[in-house]
């Protein structure tokens, strides 16, 4: 089981990979488990989850830049100043 992460990430040594592949070829349960975890990863990777909405993106950018500029003015252009 512990090797599963390595196997999924293609980071196992050749011998272990072979052993796992042989096992997977014979064990339907492990095959279903491996296959469904692999599909899970593909789904997560492609899901575009938690994407930043456009309007919030500009709000964040403006918020940050306003505070940065304000901080710099207060400090006379010194960029090591504290915010807020």
């Amino acid at each position: 089981m512990a090797e599963l992460v390595n196997f999924l990430d293609d980071q196992v040594a050749a011998e272990i990979r072979r052993e796992l592949e042989v096992h997977l070829a014979h064990c339907r349960t492990c095959q279903a488990l491996y296959d469904s975890v692999r599909k899970t990863l593909t789904i997560v990777t492609e899901s575009r989850s938690f994407e930043l909405p456009e309007e919030i993106s500009s709000r964040i950018l403006e918020g940050i830049m306003a505070k940065v500029r304000r901080g710099r003015r207060r400090r006379g252009g010194n960029n090591s100043g504290k915010r807020r």
Binding site: D9, D10, T29
Partner: protein, 627 residues
Amino acid sequence: MPFLPQVELSETFRPFAFLREHFGFIPNLFRAQTLLPRVIEAEARIVDTVLLREGALSRRQKECLLLAISAAHRNTYCVTAHWEMLRALGMADRQLRQIIGDRRRAGLSRADVALLDFGLKLTQHPTGVSRVDIDGLRRHGFSDEAILEVVLVSALTDFVCTLSEGLDAVPDFQPKRIPSTSTAIHRPARGKTAHRIGGHTHATPAPYLPAVDLSPDAFAPFAFLREQFGFIPNIFRAQTLRPDVLEAEADVIRTVLLTSDVLTRVRKEYILLVVSAANLNTYCVAVHCEMLRALGMPEDESDQIAMDHRQAGLSHADSALLDFALKLSQRPTEVGRGDIDGLRNHGFTDQQILESIVMTGLTGFLNTLQMGLGTVPDFEPTRIFGVRTRSVAGILESPRPPGAEIVNLPPAPDGLMGATRTRVAGVALGEDADAGLVARVRRGDVPAFEELVRRHQRRIYRTLMGLTGSPEDAEDGTQDAFLKAFEQIGKFRGASKFSTWLTRIAINEGIQRLRGRKRQEPLKDDGRDDAKAYRPRHVRAWDDNPEQLYSQAEMRELVERALLKLPTMYRVAVILRDLEQLSTEEAAKALSVGIAALKSRLLRGRLMLREALAPHFVGRGKGTARV
């Protein structure tokens, strides 16, 4: 505004006259490439043979394909253009809206819906395409010529979508909005793994479509290809049903790939290699490794470039060029003016940048073509590209050589952020894509900081959303993380990449917010619930194409809900590794834990996530087995 300057070309420039004659205007996509007229000429020939010439499919069927696939790519330029073209062919707005919204209710024939389904699968899930899909089209009555045309039009759509994103072409008409519920959208691939092949061949069966015999002695494009490459690549042999298209393709190869006056041929082969590998295209990688070998590059080096060009010892400029090509091919909508300026800072001319965009588009075209035709590699590939668990984003955002650590972070809370903080002077600043901007910020350049925010805010927001599950916390946390980074940039020594340093600050911000909540989840490993103690339950086979069961919006909601159900310590490991695509090493660093601990959390997190998603994806009629 397009990214690159344009020059005035005479209205009698042949391709322009041709385009005006057929479209009634000269699309901005072509006007945006006037720095390289030869490229426009070659592209116009492809458009002519694939789209405009009468063939087995009607113009309307081809335009519908272009519209649906462009919408799946979320490409406003192409959606707008082909919407207008379909309107000119007599289709109503309502029907067009359905084609990009719910094509089954667009009043199309079942055969035409099947056509769109195939084009979408080929461009969105190319590795899933098989002979079964081709037979499906045949059952709907499509001839081999028609099927070849679907493949060609799909490949052309990928080409023009990449071009328009890379050039930021301005829509020729009032831009059309693409609904967020549009056709399931997945980029072809965001990651790759590849298995080195031992002594035996994983033989791909014969190509899907029959080919007629064309002799290189009688057919000029084949004579040309044989002369240039020493052989006629199978991808071209598989298209002999359309000799006119082959002529146009040979022309593009001659004009775009084989020239060396702007970008060198080797650099273009690099682009082909890296983009094809990201698209998991074993065929194209094998062919172009071979071509690089013929140009004097050892096989190991081209193999390394395909696997991870960052580790291939290329110059910073070459590496930046390939980063750009990868981003344009895998995350086209995120390409911005900053990326173009980045290339200029590396000394690339606008003409070279234009050619790299065209080369990236051409690679997408060839990759889609190959996947749709099922051609057999001309050479035994050294790797088969397959399952995507290691991602392109991982390469784009991964640290350079390992051995660097973060310094000067605010004190980390116990638990999730362990205590290890080593100071190692490892990665030189020059290797970080943000290094130039960071140096400018340190000199007090505020606009440079704005660019850093633009580059990283999406990633940081995603990480914080995943960590806190609250849009408010994610928004405030993102702001605070960047402000903290700005405050402390004087202390950032470049011992790690800027993005890794920033991620750690953001994770600290997220954790502080979680701690502020009344009901706080344990962030600490209590020793009981490690991966060894965890056993997955009810393991059942999943549907073969789970990603096709739900729309993009539904899928996203399912994943977000499932992720937020995970305990924080597992969730954050999965988010950094699988959503943000950090390498294992980098994710471990960002969390200040050892690699073994990260892997253990990752395994547990992935298994729990699988279990949370399983009810939505288990295949029908398949057996259950208990572990």
